[in-house]
Amino acid sequence: MLKISGLTKQYKGQNAPAVSGLDLEVRPGEIMAFLGPNGAGKSTTIKCITGILPYDTGSIEICGYNLKSDPIQAKMNIGFVPDNHATYENLTAIDYINFICNIYRVPVEERKERIDELAEMMSLTQAMNKPINSFSHGMKQKVSVIAALVHKPKLWILDEPMTGLDPKSAHVLKELMRKHCDEGNSVFFSSHVLEVVEKLCDRLAIIKGGELIEVMSMDALRDKKSDLSLEEFFLSVTDNNYESEHSYTEE
């Protein structure tokens, strides 16, 4: 579904790359969490995958389409929820979703059902005709979620998706993520909320200093580190001494 090989990205004027030689694969039907301390390279990686940032070396393939050589086909298979609730705020929610539908070529006859269903799930039906700039952060996040799913993407990418959501909406979002994977699609998300990661994910990847330091399934984690919670495990692997003591593990 998503295959990243040797991804390297260095910002102008920086001495070290933000992401260096990153290899990662997200398989069909799985939810993968992307963890790491602040400044580890999570957002840079996600921005490269979604096409926001150009990258220096390596390759990114989405559903078999290379992001550099075939960016439109690659992006047609992505649904993205950014961490800053970015939408066109002068549009009404429905105007914005219709714009997204036009961009992703969603047939008119299929739109109404999908939009109504998603709006209902996100408790946003009553607000769809209002301008987004009158919404709270949580409501903007819901609009982003609807926009990301309205074209039924194969790969759903979320950057810190729980930020700003009320408990009910967070619960609905988790259900949507699971449902999305159950339909054979994939979810790749970054988060600092380890409880959510622990309960929801099939696999997790941990990045630190721009390099991938752990990729493992939740089952493997439970088997190997039964005496540790995910929080303790995360803290131990992101500790400065960890890299010298452990080698990178891909199950």
Binding site: I72, D95, N102
Partner: protein
Amino acid sequence: MFNFLHLFRLDLGFAFGFKGASKKEIAKKVALIVLICACFAVPLFFVFSILYFGARLGAFFGGLAEILNIVFFAMQLMMFMLFLPSYVSVVFFSKDTELLSSLPIGKTAVFSSRMLTMYLQMLAVSFPITLIAGIVAACGASSGGYGIGVEFWFILIFAAITVPIIPLSLITLISFPVMKFVSLFKANSTLKSVLILLLYGVIMAVLYYGVISFQNYVGKIDLSADMTANDAVHALMQTISKVGGSVYPSIFITKAMVGESSGVNFIIYSAIIVGLIALILLLSMFFYSIRESGALSKSSDKIASRAASASTGKSMSVRLALIRKEFLCVIRESQLALQTFAPLVILPVIIVVYSLAFGRGNLVQQGLTGDISFFVIAMVSGVNVMSTIAISREGDKFSLIKTLPVSSKDVILSKLWLADILSVLVVSISVICAAACKSLDWIEALLAWACGIMLSLGVNCLSLSRDIKNPNFRFTNYKELVKKSSKSLVPMLLGLSVGAINMLIKILTQLVIKGLSDTGAFWLRWGITIALSVIILISCRVNRIKKMCADFEKIEG
């Protein structure tokens, strides 16, 4: 006071576009401003020539103060037109109010800083013009044998400093009722923006109409066939005196300057200025506090809730969807809409009113109406906010477009085409107005239209490519973004240059290059103008899209 100074320094930096700029950028900006001034020098040369000869005649026939006052009045009108949108932006649409409210800065400090900055911006334009006008008038009067006293120069500087207060007070008086009316439509942001634009146009039209009516009322020249040349000039000077003498309150200061009851007139003028300052401060402070309390701002609670079921809209092509999105994003942001669409409203108003005021056959205009109309059209062709900040206006939402499955060519063309549509509308409507008012005959109108379109299509592409190369996503409001963007200066300069060259060739063919027939002079002038427009169109537009796409890919929003 400490906070005020900090804020004032910040506002000043933003207002004059030097905040955060390197020395090289500042030098570039200064050079561009000098070039723009050079382009404006051509029409200003006409104004000052008329002033010089008027002052010379005024020295003999009387009416020197009135002649000078006409120039002051024209400048006040210009200030009013230029700064009305800025005032509305600062007092009613300032987007950093929320941020500033959370900081330990008093409302009075914020307000004082903003008003003082605006006054200084007005002063930057009016001070040199007033000073030059005064010097020219003094030279004209002296050559006519009129003794200019030393008080003239002191009062001239005082006048140059205080004259902007008059249009600022008028702006303050007018804007509140207008914005109060517009706020009734806050539930519909598109309608609100359209209303603001229309009202802006109506205010300008009413203002100009008032000036023409006033001119017609007091400015009738009673000439008869048996008059001598001396009588005719005398009658003309009397009319000019009547017009200039009826424009208050600046007539008091011009009378003081030329030594007509200097003391009394100076005191009256000073008292009026003090009164106007008090009026500006009190009213603006009141409006600002109302705006801050939310009475005039957007209220999400009151936004009408329409049918709950969402409309699915129509299916459209990617480019059309992008163009629609661009248009809605601009029109629903009142401040941006005003900045973007103002030429669509104001340019036809200027052309119609100017044509009515100085139509063909008028003694004053001497066949220059058409040239000035084209100069204005060419100048506006070079300024299209839709293209100069096409990328930057996305702000922190820019990354969104990069995540969508659209090619950079689609994004760029959608932005460019929308800017082109606006330019074609502005130029076409303006030319039609100029032709309808007989300011341009049909051949001139056709040529002006063709040149205006070529110019605007060229500079739109240039502006967009400059914005793609160096976008500014960090801005607090659109007015600041537009003003800070030096990208608009080069395209404006191109438009201005073509307009100025067109006018200059006319002067040269009339005054310097003798022996050229009227038809020959006409086609020489328009031939060169067309050639320049074609060069700008081709050099700015051809083979640029591919390069723009490559630059767009490099943007890291």
